[in-house]
């Protein structure tokens, strides 16, 4: 049989201005050989035709530039969040709208477990619930003879039942800061931050790292990606020990439907992290791209831990925290720039963005040169002037557009106020400054789904259905470009993926509708039927 496959579709939306739309794409050796009509590859020899995609719309495989591996394996626990969500196997989990729904949902999940297995839920977010705060009393209704733990959506808090409290000896005598107590002096069951959660996690076998590095976790991540039409995804703060790399190399073989870009978390000695990044880069394969590093700077806006510029937080809260010393941000930027290592820098607050840009500017003064493509990640409060500086310095930005819908109302009312909330995640300003932009979900913080993310950037609706800052809306074509070519550019993969162009990898998203011709408000509902990765078709 011929080694050239010609795929037919209702339409390939290529993201390549030379041939914006075609009906046929020819693939050889996992790469795009030709595109056009049915005969497009005849000049290359005999071909065989594949009509499996004939009734679909095809786009370049979508690229998620900011997500975390945990987004797959976390589904081994019961989802108890407020919003509807779909698990890696395609099952819909209905959002739970109040405390009693959470209890009922968990009780149902518990029926499916062995009788002595701990009951663990995730994704709970009290910010959306008007009812009283979740406590051990609610969870005791489900069981009083096995441990129950509900992990909140930010992974910084949990609520446990009385049995679990007893397992770790939390009682009226405990003086641990994160063990929250009721007026009667007894623990409510709510535990805040790692120190207080650690004894529970240890005894219930809840292991955030295991959710990121086991073979099952990697496979589940691929399933989640496939459902979202994503063929290249980051794991944007990876620890990447040698054993982890061995496992990942084994799993990410030719049949694996996803290209993973694990980015090494760098918090500490710049030279040793640069050395490690260089070592990792040498082990990269087509499906596993290593060598970049991630810097943490501040916290989150909704947690009041982001570092913000004047006038600070709406409620007068203290100005956030640094997770890396500004001095160390400078040292890391200097070392990575000197060594030619690309950085992804977490910046939620505008002061964190400013300090990071200062540090990059200083690093460039020491070691000039373009082509670094350092990426500011989240960029939630960057305004025109910060985007202009990012452009001057040759940086790109990856904007957390999903926040507009999920937390936009909270940012107006609680954190930043109307004026700054209306220009959050300012994708329009970023494009106007001439930047290459990507848009992201930060999954599992919000669900992976580039069409939903694009919808947020285009429509800027919040949960209360208002438009937050219409001046910052993108057009549909700009948003679609950002979730393909834009994101590929931020990963330095734009020569290989991001558009359907001759020479690039045959990575496609298979769709049930045409995102360029539907109502922009329907963009989030474009059906994803599967993906093609390196020419191999992976239908759902």
């Amino acid at each position: 049989m011929s080694n050239i496959t010609v795929f037919a579709a209702k339409k390939f939306i290529t993201m390549d201005p030379n041939t914006p739309e075609v009906t046929h794409v020819a693939v050889r050796d996992g790469r795009i050989l030709a595109l056009g009509g049915k005969e497009c590859a005849n000049e290359w020899g005999s071909v065989h035709h594949d009509d499996r995609l004939a009734d679909t719309i095809v786009m370049p495989g979508l690229v998620e530039g900011h997500a975390h591996m945990m987004a797959g394996a976390v589904w081994k626990y019961a989802y108890v969040g407020y919003h509807d969500r779909i698990d890696p196997s395609g099952n819909l989990w209905r959002g739970l709208k109040d405390g009693s729904a959470v209890v009922a949902g968990l009780a149902e999940f518990a029926d499916r477990l062995d009788f002595d297995e701990p009951i663990v839920g995730w994704g709970f977010d009290p910010i959306f619930l008007a009812s009283e705060r979740l406590s051990r009393i609610h969870l005791d209704e489900i069981s009083s003879d096995r441990p129950i733990a509900i992990i909140f959506s930010n992974f910084h808090l949990m609520c446990v039942n009385s049995y679990a409290l007893e397992m770790v000896g939390y009682d009226q005598h405990s003086n641990v800061e994160g063990v929250i107590k009721a007026p009667d002096g007894l623990p409510t069951g709510e535990l805040q931050e790692m120190a207080a959660m650690f004894p529970i996690m240890r005894r219930l076998g809840i292991d955030f790292r295991g959710l990121s590095q086991s073979p099952d976790a990697i496979l589940a991540y691929a399933q989640v990606a496939q459902r979202a039409g994503v063929t290249t995804i980051t794991d944007l703060f990876s620890s990447m020990e040698d054993d982890d790399v061995d496992v990942m190399l084994r799993i990410t073989n030719d049949n694996f439907p996803l290209r993973i870009v694990p980015v090494l978390g760098a918090m500490g000695d710049p030279v040793s992290f640069a050395d490690k990044a260089e070592r990792l880069a040498k082990r990269s394969t087509d499906k596993l791209r290593m060598g970049a590093v991630k810097l943490m700077t501040d916290g989150s806006i909704q947690g009041w831990t982001a570092r913000v510029r004047w006038p600070g937080y709406l409620g007068g809260q203290p100005n956030g925290i640094w997770n890396t010393e500004p001095e160390m941000i400078y040292s890391l930027c200097a070392e990575m720039q000197a060594r030619g290592i690309q950085m992804h820098i977490h910046v939620n607050g505008d002061q964190a963005a400013e300090v990071s840009l200062d540090a990059i500017q200083a690093a460039l003064a020491l070691n000039p040169g373009q082509g670094h493509r350092h990426v500011l990640q989240h960029c939630q409060m960057m305004d025109r002037d910060l985007y202009e500086r990012a452009a001057e310095l040759g940086c790109c930005v990856n904007i957390f557009s999903n926040h507009i819908w999920y937390f936009g109302d909270q940012h107006v009312a609680l954190t930043l106020g109307e004026g700054r909330a209306a220009r959050m995640d300012a994708a329009r300003s970023a494009l106007d400054a001439g930047l290459h932009i990507a848009l992201h979900s930060d999954a599992p913080v919000t669900p992976l789904g580039p069409f939903f993310t694009a919808w947020c950037a285009v429509n800027r609706r919040t949960m209360s259905d208002r438009v937050l800052g219409s001046a910052q809306c993108l057009s549909v074509s700009e948003a679609l470009y950002a979730i393909t070519m834009g994101a590929a550019y931020t990963l330095k993969l734009d020569a290989e993926i991001g558009s359907i162009s001759v020479g690039k990898r045959a990575d496609f998203a298979i769709l049930g509708d045409d995102p360029t011709s539907i109502d922009p408000m329907a963009l989030k509902d474009v059906p994803v039927l599967g993906t093609v990765s390196g020419g191999r078709v992976h239908l759902l």
Binding site: A196, R202, M267
Partner: protein, 283 residues
């Protein structure tokens, strides 16, 4: 058996590594396990190194120094799951970290015991750093949560003006073991002759006291008496287990031989002061 955990806090360059180097070299008789961010400035006499790997250095005196990797809590969990525990676990917090966010785990985890927070500040830099608009609040926070504040680089009589809290000059302390780690009564006696800077105090009997009264009294102890540990009889039945490090006062039901032992620095507290404080409890 629970594992005592002490956290070393302090901003970049404050002298945390100097402190750790001294602890590793000191003759305290403890098998310390020290978790550091990186080996960068760890300086160990080559003749003392028994084994070394990428992430671990083992010393002939039984101490081990490890890098913590990306997840400190995971590293702590792994240590607790070992067959043989070290005598004391010491964690070096990163320069910007809130050391109490780590130390709280020792109060939370039943297999750990609170060993305190030691924050190191730099006599030369502290005034500037603590007033810095970007990091001042976090630098001051590290001092606020400390059980013991140690000042480095005090040569020539330097002392930070902005430090309005009881602190000790690192250079005044000839042995760090008793200050940073839990040294048991017997160990302490064995070591004492070489370390005149410490005093030890003990009682073996006590009236029965209500928990809230006991907590209040222990919190009012002379500040120079920075460690207290032992068991006291509870009213009605039972025994209170007592553990005090700096500002941290822990009183909970426990079992053990009645008596308390305390350690203080000779330059900071007199025996008569401690005795009269303890006497007050009997009235």
């Amino acid at each position: 058996m629970s594992l005592p955990l002490t956290v070393i806090g302090g901003y970049l360059g404050a002298g945390k590594t100097t402190l750790i180097n001294r602890l590793l070299a000191e003759n305290h008789g403890l098998r310390l396990l020290i978790l550091v961010n990186d080996f960068g400035a760890i300086n160990i006499d080559a003749s003392l190194i028994e084994a070394a790997e990428d992430d671990m250095i083992a010393l002939s005196n039984g101490c081990v120094c490890c890098t913590m990797g990306a997840d400190l809590f995971l590293a702590i969990g792994d240590i607790l799951d070992r067959d043989q525990l070290p005598d004391h676990l010491i964690v070096e917090a990163s320069g910007i970290a809130d050391p109490s966010a780590i130390a709280q785990v020792a109060l939370a985890e039943p297999d750990l015991e609170y060993g305190g927070i030691v924050t190191v500040v730099d006599a030369i830099e502290f005034d500037r750093l603590s007033q810095d608009t970007l990091i001042g609040a976090q630098v001051l926070g590290q001092v606020d949560v400390a059980d013991v504040v140690l000042v480095s680089k005090t040569e020539g009589g330097l002392w930070p003006n902005n430090l309005d809290i009881e602190a000790l000059a690192l250079s005044d302390i000839d042995a760090l073991g008793p200050l940073v780690c839990d040294i048991s009564f017997t160990q302490f006696r064995r070591e004492r002759s070489g370390h005149p800077s410490y005093i030890q105090w003990q009682v073996t009997d006590c009236i029965k006291v209500e928990r809230s009264d006991l907590i209040e009294h222990l919190a009012r102890r002379p500040t120079g008496l920075f460690r207290l540990k032992g068991f006291l009889p509870a009213p009605k039945e039972g025994i209170w287990e007592i553990q005090c490090v700096g500002r941290q006062v822990i009183v909970r039901p426990g079992t053990g031989p009645i008596g308390i032992v305390g350690i203080g620095l000779e330059s900071r507290v007199r025996m008569s002061e401690i005795n009269s404080w303890w006497e007050e409890l009997n009235y």
